[in-house]
Symmetry: C2
Subunit: 177 residues, 2 copies
Amino acid sequence: MTATRRPERPAEHALLGLLALEPSHAAHGYDLARHFADGQPLGEVFRLESGMLYHHLKKLAAAGWVVSSTEAQSSRPARRVFRLSTNGRAELDRWLQEPVSHTREIRLEFLVKLYFAQLLAPDRVANLIAEQTEVLRRLAANLETQLAAATDPFHLRVLALRRDQTDAALQWLSDLS
Amino acid sequence: MTATRRPERPAEHALLGLLALEPSHAAHGYDLARHFADGQPLGEVFRLESGMLYHHLKKLAAAGWVVSSTEAQSSRPARRVFRLSTNGRAELDRWLQEPVSHTREIRLEFLVKLYFAQLLAPDRVANLIAEQTEVLRRLAANLETQLAAATDPFHLRVLALRRDQTDAALQWLSDLS
DNA sequence: CGGGACATGTAACACGTTACATGATTAG
DNA sequence: CTAATCATGTAACGTGTTACATGTCCCG
């Protein structure tokens, strides 16, 4: 039972979110890939190359969060349709309500949560922001405690930077409402 | 000629810096590893497990930046001594003067630069800070331009977050002097 | 008829974490 | 005698980037 590492980018939940936004709750890999291109909202937050996209879709299928079916087409390469399952939607909803734990995750993961929360569950956005604010407030308080106890000048600078970045994120959060 | 990816952590330059701090400009892998443990200044910024440490030392040797020699010991596993070469010292000095390009690199790479600059070249610290400030100012100005042009509400939030994080880093930098 | 969009991947490489292998010496 | 420390790694896995393979269809 090896502890699975947290992925750097919230790619898989973004894919669940994109499927949820489709009226049919289904799409081809190629359709999904376009959302990560240059001018698209998600493309401003992070990129997802086709290789990784199909890899993630395979993992989502293995987890039972999407169901894939092959569309055989005469004289054409087969297309694969990925459909959001009930479990996948439940996982997406769970993820949409959960604040991120670290300031550095605001830049990618929280932004993606916010994007889908606004489109899929606008009534829960205020709650997400409130819970994220609470998490960051605790981090900031913790950093102040460490700052008060630290003596090494370099250590003080490290802690001060983290506090300043956390405070900036808090200010940005408060401007969201 | 594949474009080499920029490593996430400035592990290799930190290793060059640690060697430069040694009076003999040399150390064993094990000695170097201790600097990335919990209470140590570098350990507050990032961790480096032994597996990766030896991997990086191998790469540094291949680049000619360190020279390794084996100390045979009777009835003991052989120890390997890594010594900073002239080329390695030159690369370290080059790196110490170069500001980082993105706000997100302040949190790890710039902190490590600052740490070694203060210990190895204190007379150049003010210049490093000034150049880093200039880079971040340009990024901030660029973000303001994009903010003025953007219309999509989500895109505006993304850009505002980046600007706020960059401004916080600039404020922190100005407190360093 | 040539190039781009459609459509799904694979291969090679690089970075990073966790766990483990090996084997000696030293401290309690 | 047992655990920690010294000392150098390997193996397995997971994440991510870049480049490429494969083949069709449509537009100009």
